[in-house]
Structures are given as C-alpha cells and as structure tokens.
C-alpha cells in the first residue's frame, strides 16, 4: 500500500505504478479538484490500473483509515527561480514560511498513517532551507523519524543553517542544485520511535 499524498498532475504516480508493475495499491490524493482531472488523464493515458484517487487534503489522510508501507510526499512548495523567471519578485518570506508550515502538517499526518516499518520519501523543488533541511530537522526531533542514507545524486544537505546546528542525520538528505535538473531536495525517512495513544513519540532504543 503506497500513499502519494500530493499527487497531481501525476508524473510520479505513474512512475510509482510502473515501479510496482501496476500491482498492489496506490492511493493518490490532491487538494485541488481541478488538478485531479489532469491526474486522471495521466493515469488513463499510461494505462495505470492500481491507483485510487481521492479529492482529499493530505492533512486529513488518516480519515482513510489505511496504514501505508510507503508514502511519497512531493509536497507543495515555493518552487525556485529555474522554472520561474519572476520567482524573486513574486515570493516573500511569508510565503516560504506558510509553505513550510503546510509541509510540516502534511509530514505529521503522514507519520500517523505510516506502518511501523514503513518509509516516507519527502521531496520539494524548493531551495529554501525552511522547506527542506529545517523541516526535516523538525521531523527528526518531533515525529520520531530518522533520515536514511540514499543512493541518489546531488549533494549532502546542509547541517548548519542560519547559524543553527541541525541533527547530523540531516546530511543524508540530498540537495540537488539547479544544473542537470531544475533543483530539488529529497530524502527518505523511517520511523525510529513508536507513537503512543496521545500521539506522542517514544524513541526506540
């Protein structure tokens, strides 16, 4: 069972289905109904048959009452200047902060729906530390997650941001500077704690 929590227009949903050889189940969510049509067209065009799509806010994913083996969080983000010439004039720090907050809320909800031995892939196309390293540092410290090493090109992520020292494991994330691609941030997260009934995380030793 795989959750693609921010799925539209579906490029990665199709890739997941391909990796799964169109078997198993993918649950794909998106918050914007208009974008679901593009997702549906993509699924039809690529003959995907293992996916169920819901018009649902990823912050309410636990309503589905399903526990997932894998979760992809290709979260909404501020993007970067490579794909948008006017990026600098269109964005303010408030936008970045708002996105970072939304991303943390999506991450926290995803952890609730993840099986104990499950894995989350978190990705953005933003280069802002608030949406990348700082969020992952927060997740490590608050959601009982650890950052796994991944075999992916890109550079080690930052472990010191704005004078703050982050958890060492954050360097396992990959920061892909614009060049070969438009610029990305990606990491793989696993649970290393157990959630008690109140939602608090107890670290496993």
């Amino acid at each position: 069972m795989v959750l693609d929590a921010c799925a539209a227009p579906g490029g990665k949903t199709v890739q997941l289905a391909d990796l799964m050889r169109n078997t198993g189940v993918i649950i794909a969510l998106d918050f914007k109904r208009r974008r679901l049509t593009a997702l549906a067209n993509h699924l039809e065009r690529c003959h995907v048959k293992n996916t169920i799509v819901y018009h649902l806010d990823a912050r309410h994913a636990s309503k589905l009452k399903v526990r997932f083996d894998r979760i992809l969080l290709d979260v909404p983000c501020s993007g970067n200047f490579v794909t948008d010439e006017e990026w600098f004039s269109k964005r303010t720090m408030n936008d970045v902060e708002r996105n970072a907050r939304l991303q943390r809320a999506i991450l926290a909800e995803a952890v609730k729906t993840l099986k104990e031995d499950g894995e989350i892939v978190y990705a953005t196309c933003s280069l802002e530390p608030e949406e990348d390293e700082l969020n992952i540092d927060w997740a490590v410290k608050n959601l009982g997650l650890r950052v796994e090493r991944i075999n992916c090109y890109g550079e080690k992520a930052l472990t010191e941001v704005f004078g703050r020292r982050l958890d060492d494991s954050v360097e396992n994330c990959r920061r892909i500077w614009p060049g070969r691609t438009q610029g990305f941030f990606v990491c793989k997260l696993k649970k290393c704690g157990v959630q008690d009934a109140s939602g608090k995380i107890r670290k496993q030793v």
Binding site: H47, I52, H55
Partner: protein
C-alpha cells in the same frame, strides 16, 4: 450494460468481471482484486479507481483508451494503417483507403473498427464508410474518425 454493448460493436469478446466493476456518477471503472478487498475505501467518495473504462454522456458511451486497448488485444474489428495515416488520424483526421495496410475482422460499411499503427498500438476507433474489401477509390475516406489518442492533448487544451 453500456460497456459490454460498446465492446460488442467491434465483434469482440472480452471478459469484464462485473463484481470488479464500479460506477461513479457517469463513469465506469474496473478494479483489481486488491482494491476490492479494500471495500471501505471504494465506497468512500473516490475520484478515480483502478482502470477507467469510459463514461456515459447524453445516453452515449464514450470509451476510455484503456478499454479500446483491451478490445484491440482480442479478436476484433481493426485496421492497421501506415505511418502517414497514423499521424493524420491522431490529429483528428479520417482514414483514407490508401493508408490501410491490413483489415482484420469486419470491413463492412457501417461497422465500427479500431485503428492501429504498425506496432499494433491502438490509436482510436472509427466507423467504416464503405465496404473495405470492395472499395476501389484509394483516395476516398474509408474510416471516419470517431475518437483518437490526440484527444489527450485536445481535452486539456485551454485548461491552465
């Protein structure tokens, strides 16, 4: 059942497990067995599930390209067309007799036929305008385009 009726137009036989078929408003979907096990999930308000088969609008059935592919994989009416005709067809044009390389199944006037390229990929379907086996004028339209895969581009045109 609209889906089955549509399949019959191509003189094809495909097995569609009705237990695995779900209808959401005017759209039909075919689930896999794993989906079916997640019963609760499917009854929730999904937007898309499993393999999309097609939709009904104004009492007419509009097939998905998944369904056309399923029909094309079975014995059914089909014409195989050359490269130039393939390109014109996916741009919405009709099929001229000259462009048809092979006719499989019925080539009778009035019947429906799938249109395939030389790789046996289904490009869409159309209605036969003249008996294909008797038709002599190579420059006349033989199959009228009803639906082609260029529709994927056209249907999103104008949408942001």
């Amino acid at each position: 059942m609209q889906v089955v009726k549509f399949v019959n137009k191509f003189r094809a036989r495909i097995f569609l497990n009705e237990d695995l078929m779900v209808k959401k408003e005017n759209r039909y979907f075919l689930l896999n067995k794993k989906h079916k096990k997640l019963k609760g999930l499917i009854t929730k308000d999904f937007f898309y599930a499993g393999l999309y088969l097609g939709k009904v609008r104004n009492k007419r059935f509009f097939p998905s390209f998944n369904l056309l592919k399923m029909i094309a994989e079975k014995r059914s009416n089909k014409v195989i067309v050359d490269k130039k005709t393939e390109w014109l067809f996916i741009c919405g044009r009709d099929v001229f007799k000259r462009g048809i390389i092979k006719v499989v199944g019925s080539g009778r006037k009035g019947d429906y036929t799938l249109v395939l390229n030389t790789h046996r990929e289904c490009l869409g379907f159309g209605r036969i305008l003249h008996d294909l086996n008797k038709m002599e004028d190579k420059d006349a339209v033989a199959v009228k385009n009803v639906l082609d895969i260029g529709d994927f581009l056209r249907r999103e045109k104008g949408q942001p």
